[in-house]
């Protein structure tokens, strides 16, 4: 897209004054770094601290107790909520990968004209720049009791009564989340695939490799970092939200995000904080697990 800039690799400018430290880079990164220290690091430290505080039924009392954490690990309700969150994260991830890989492949390899590639990629991107809440609501005309899917099923005499399960079910939650987050999988896979040297594929074809073998031995391994980045995005997004869960399940399903939100609404900050710390720990474990398997540094 950046056709105007020269493609010459940028060479590090040899520093002329070795004797004194150049402070300019530090001044330049200061605003961004201070923002993150204040809006990210400090909040996480605060949550960590409060997760050890007491809750007396009305308000949070500074102190040190492990009861909040013990409560999480000993309560079947909480454990079930965590399992439910993993279940949704896994389902949404799986569907996203199954959809995004062929979509990215189509964009990267089947559309040969780079102008059309940009246009189709933009067409896939635009909906993700519109309101998430509106995009959830927009499933009602399809999934509801009177929705298009039920009408179609009844018209085809596949069912006599409207199927209730489409809206306000696990199905609608997964569907809406895939609809919301698929781009976070498509974009990194597309990015990885665009870096694949086309000569590799031509060579494999010349040597008589089948389409399946080219996928398995060239494209998939080289697109894996993109899948990894997409996975990190999708898993974190699903783990950290509650709106889709609340809206699309009609309040039936629960997730850790939703649980935290409810605990804050009832002012149980220490419990909410403990849940947040556990959620963060789990998310980080997943992310580091992925980073151990796939090296994503070259993708940036």
């Amino acid at each position: 897209m950046q056709g105007t800039l020269d493609q010459a690799p940028s060479q590090p400018i040899a520093s002329k004054q070795r004797s004194s430290i150049d402070w300019r880079p530090y001044l330049l990164v200061a605003p961004q770094t201070i923002t993150f220290l204040f809006a990210l690091v400090l909040p996480i430290l605060a949550i960590f601290t409060i997760s050890f505080w007491n809750f007396n039924g009305f308000t949070s009392v500074p102190g040190f107790t492990l009861n909040n954490y013990l409560g999480i690990f000993s309560s079947p309700v909480y454990l079930k909520t965590y399992l439910n969150t993993f279940k949704f994260a896994f389902l949404v991830w799986l569907v996203c990968v199954l959809i995004s890989y062929p979509v990215a492949y189509y964009l990267a390899f089947r559309i040969k004209n780079s102008k059309w590639q940009t246009i189709w990629f933009l067409i896939c991107t635009v909906p993700f720049l519109t309101s998430n809440i509106i995009r959830m609501i927009s499933w009602i005309p399809f999934l509801g009791r009177e929705g298009l899917i039920n009408k179609a099923l009844m018209g085809l005499h596949l069912t006599n009564q409207p199927v209730e399960m489409f809206l306000f079910s696990d199905f609608s939650v997964v569907l809406a989340m895939v609809h919301l987050y698929a781009l976070f999988m498509v974009a990194p896979i597309f990015n990885s695939m665009m870096r694949i040297d086309r000569a590799l594929i031509a060579a494999a074809e010349d040597l008589g490799a089948s389409a399946f073998e080219i996928q398995k031995r060239i494209i998939l391994p080289l697109a894996a970092p993109g899948v990894a980045i997409g996975t990190i995005f999708v898993v974190t997004l699903v783990m950290g939200e509650f709106a889709t869960m609340r809206l699309m399940s009609g309040g039936k399903a629960s997730s850790v995000g939703y649980l935290i939100k409810n605990q804050i609404d009832s002012l149980q900050y220490p419990m909410a904080a403990a849940n947040a710390v556990v959620l963060l720990a789990i998310t980080l474990m997943i992310v580091f697990g992925i980073l151990r398997i796939v090296d994503i540094r070259k993708q940036i």
Binding site: P25, L40, N113, I140, E241, L280
Partner: protein, 275 residues
């Protein structure tokens, strides 16, 4: 795309799959658009009952549906503030990262880590910090902080990509001829990155304008637009909800259109100047 040799069946299958994906993205949007143009007796599902702009008008009446106009004003202002801060901070950081400096890795990972912290945690944490420090919890203070944790990492990554492909020869030439840092930036560097900066600005604005979770616990007693719409979903069961959806979607499309148009114009101009 039309090749002379026979296209295998699997290729058609893939094209079909891609078409379905695009339909999956846009179908619901089109349904909402159509249903918001029903007559006054309209419902939430098809078939369309009549055709009118009744529900679009209803959005601006305060009796039916929450206070949409004020919420829009807040989201719009917040989006603009987030946009400006995101652009300025990420361009500065991008400039810094063109040289290797001690601690650059730490800054890099601090920024990226913001993407993998679950949103609800940011909301909760920012709220707690503002409470502890006795700072006002408002859409323009705490929600602003929450939004920046989401927009800045994306903008930063994009700026790294842009400066990574940037040819330093132009600036070196300017410096050799005695131009100061700021002259070099405004006369040489900025025109070259201008169209990308607009892209980053658009991303910053829309990410903020549509953000829900990172606003939800920290917008104070007033709602931004996504929070207002979320609140409506529980008590508004008329096509007014869709009308609101249609209006905000059209607004987003307009912004994207303007940004893309400007980016293209800038790139054309740049190409001409380079000859």
């Amino acid at each position: 795309m039309a090749e002379t040799k026979k296209t295998p069946f699997s290729a058609h299958l893939l094209t079909g799959f891609f078409a379905l994906f695009v339909l999956f993205l846009y179908g619901p949007m089109i349904a909402v658009f159509l249903l918001s143009l029903q007559g006054p007796e309209g419902q939430l599902t098809f078939p369309m009952r009549g055709f009118s702009f009744h529900w679009i008008g209803a959005v601006f009446g305060q009796q039916r549906i929450g206070n949409f106009v004020e919420a829009f004003g807040r989201s719009f202002s917040l989006g603009l503030i987030v946009m400006v801060i995101t652009v300025v901070f990420s361009v500065l950081a991008g400039l810094a990262f063109r040289k290797n400096f001690r601690g650059s890795n730490l800054v890099f990972y601090l920024t990226i880590s913001s993407l993998i912290v679950p949103s609800i945690l940011v909301s909760l944490g920012v709220g707690v910090v503002f409470n502890l420090l006795n700072l006002p919890i408002q859409w323009y203070s705490s929600a602003l902080a929450g939004h920046l944790t989401w927009t800045l990492p994306f903008a930063f990554l994009i700026m790294l990509g842009i400066f990574g492909r940037f040819n330093p020869a132009y600036e070196e030439a300017a410096r050799d001829m005695g131009a100061s840092d700021s002259t070099t930036f405004w006369r040489i560097v900025f025109p070259l990155i201008a169209s990308s900066v607009i892209g980053v600005g658009l991303l910053g604005f829309t990410l903020s304008y549509d953000e829900f979770t990172r606003t939800s616990l920290i917008s104070g007693e007033t709602n931004t637009l996504p929070l207002e719409i979320f609140g409506m979903t529980t008590n508004v069961t008329s096509p007014a909800l869709y009308a609101l959806g249609t209006l905000t979607t059209i607004f987003s499309f307009l912004l994207i259109g303007i940004a893309l148009f400007t980016m293209q114009k800038l790139e054309q101009r740049q190409n001409k100047q380079e000859g």
